[in-house]
């Protein structure tokens, strides 16, 4: 049995959790129906009224929400309260140009940070720990969520943000960080850099790491654990639902407990939308249970997972999800950033290129690389090198603005992009992300 941030709820019986969920879902659906016109229209269209929802068993009657709805409703269409009640926005990339913007009241921030606090305590964190947060700070939820969770636990928080590895290492060694929070690829990179500097795993004071925001394998877990001399834990979340901490791993290291008192989870068949029996592999769907500013009902994550209610040795009773085993759409996670091929296509068309392109994603030295091969049209070619290169740079910068990460652009002659059976192969992902 381990430590809990909120023991009474984290170890509550199945009946207790269900009763909490039943009570909250009625209120949440009523709240969404009354305050979010976009969702009310969807419910009306389906002929469902808030009174039809008496508990979580009725959730399946409700319409789904997807990333496309978030784009459609951008920016305020899914807001469930007055802006004056909101204290924060966070944002993530959308499928095309528009970003997803999520709103939070102080209540929403608190519940999100509590979820992160549960994750920190689950890996052995307390007010005696030094938590080094090297997730990005800013619109990305990674930094803000873990930072807030660390405060709630009472740990000494180092708000490092991402990058500047020299400084990360200096602070880690000088201030004796005990818990490291970042993307798994950055953790691996820090481990390698430490070794290059001649540090042995036992030279640092780290005991645990909370790594998320991108897919990683068991093999990568073992390698990070060895290079840093720690236990490495996974964390799951998405901006739409709150951020990291929707689910987190415990000492058992075999799946992430979903915070079921705040988020109701379903697994559906991505093709039919039909709810699958527990234990089936399918797409995760979340319903927020007590959010004020951004209540999302039946939000389709596109992450493919399996849920398990097997008794966990840590004593927590909340359902566990596996690491996402893939996606039911074409979203890629590159350096922790969500990237859709459609975004790349949008930029190409805006910049006057043909939509003939190929994306090659790889992982070199534990860092993701993104290469975009673009077929050059005759009117974009100049016999002057600097003119052609300037064009390349302009496209690169437009991509960076759209995607939030910088790709390498390669202009190639027409008809050089591999086509199989006449159809261009758009994405080649050479990373090994799933076991």
């Amino acid at each position: 049995m381990g430590n809990y941030f909120q023991p009474e709820i984290e170890t509550a019986s199945r009946e207790e959790i269900l009763s909490i969920q039943n009570e909250k879902i009625v209120k949440q659906v009523k709240h969404a129906y009354e305050n979010v016109k976009y969702y009310r229209d969807l419910m009306d269209e389906k002929g469902v009224k808030p009174e039809d929802i008496k508990g979580v068993d009725d959730i399946k009657k409700l319409p789904f929400l997807s990333k496309a709805d978030l784009r459609e409703a951008y920016p305020y269409g899914l807001l469930g309260t007055d802006l004056k009640n909101c204290v924060r926005i966070q944002s993530t990339s959308g499928t095309t140009g528009k970003r997803v913007v999520a709103f939070y009241t102080q209540h929403d921030i608190d519940l999100w940070e509590e979820c992160c606090a549960r994750a920190i305590v689950a890996v052995g964190g307390s007010n005696e720990d030094v938590v080094q947060v090297c997730y990005g700070y800013g619109l990305f939820t990674g930094g803000a969520g873990i930072h807030g969770g660390s405060h709630k636990v009472g740990s000494l928080t180092l708000p490092m943000s991402s990058g500047n590895t020299e400084r990360q290492i200096q602070f880690m060694m000088d201030l004796g960080s005990t818990i490291l929070c970042c993307t798994p690829s950055y953790a691996a990179y820090i481990g390698e850099t430490l070794a290059e500097r001649g540090y042995k795993p036992e030279d640092n004071k780290l005991k645990a790491g909370i790594f998320g925001a991108e897919p990683w394998t068991e093999e990568m877990r073992r390698s990070i654990e060895q290079s840093l001399g720690i236990k490495a834990y996974d964390i799951y979340g998405l901006t739409e639902i709150s951020g990291p901490g929707v689910a987190f791993e415990c000492e058992a290291q075999n799946g992430m407990h979903i915070n079921e008192d705040h988020f109701y989870v379903e697994v559906i068949d991505p093709e039919t939308g039909e709810v699958l029996p527990e234990g089936s592999k399918g797409e995760l769907v979340f319903t927020s249970l007590d959010k004020e500013a951004f209540p999302l009902i039946r939000y389709r994550t596109r992450d493919i997972c399996v849920l398990s209610r097997e008794k966990c040795s840590c004593g927590r009773t909340h359902v566990k999800m596996t690491k996402p085993m893939g996606r039911s759409d074409d979203m890629m996670i590159i350096r922790g950033v969500n990237v859709f091929p459609s975004q790349i296509e949008t930029v190409l068309l805006n910049e006057g290129y043909t939509p003939n392109y190929q994306i090659v994603v790889d992982r070199v030295n534990n860092s993701d690389t993104l290469d975009i091969y673009v077929e050059l049209a005759p009117d974009q070619f100049s016999d002057i090198v600097s003119v052609t290169q300037k064009r390349e740079k302009k496209l690169e910068s437009a991509m960076r603005t759209m995607l939030g990460i910088g790709p390498r652009i390669h202009l190639v002659p027409p008809k050089t992009i591999t086509r199989s059976e006449g159809k261009a192969v758009r994405v080649i992902d050479n990373r090994k992300l799933h076991d």
Binding site: F381, D383, H410
Partner: protein, 142 residues
């Protein structure tokens, strides 16, 4: 007058340039002058041939090409010959993007090809100063 130059976008990879040159050889194109500008990723292969229309037709089929007019100015075989031409262009505020030299035979002499920002102005200027330049007809059969 000036002459037509054809430029081809070539990936900086083994086998790419040779394929283009082979095609021209097979179709009986005589390359008068050429230069390559290289970057890490790609090269720009610039050509002056005995038949620019046919060359363009052949190369455009499988490549991205671009046709520009360039000045080919005759160089006297003595010190300061290149300086004289470049100085004329420079004085007139004409910017040279790039240049390369070629010669066809002992009697033909040496020429420098200039890619400038204002080809008409450059041509007019060199004509006025009595600098001999080539036009497309001059390079059909040398």
């Amino acid at each position: 007058m000036a002459i037509h130059q054809i430029s081809v976008f070539v990936q900086n990879k083994p086998g790419k340039l040779v394929g283009i040159i082979e095609e021209l050889a097979n179709k009986g194109i005589n390359i008068r002058a050429s230069s390559i500008a290289d970057t890490a990723e790609f090269g720009i292969f610039r050509l002056i041939t005995n038949d620019f229309d046919k060359t363009r037709e052949i190369l455009s089929e499988n490549n991205v090409t671009n046709v520009t007019k360039v000045i080919a100015a005759k160089m006297e075989d003595k010190p300061g010959a290149l300086y004289r031409v470049v100085d004329i262009l420079s004085e007139a505020g004409i910017n040279i993007e790039y240049m390369y030299a070629f010669t066809a035979s002992e009697t033909f002499g040496a020429y420098v090809v200039f890619r400038v920002d204002d080809v008409d102005a450059a041509q007019k200027l060199l004509d006025e100063k009595g600098i001999s330049t080539l036009n497309d007809e001059d390079i059909l059969d040398m």
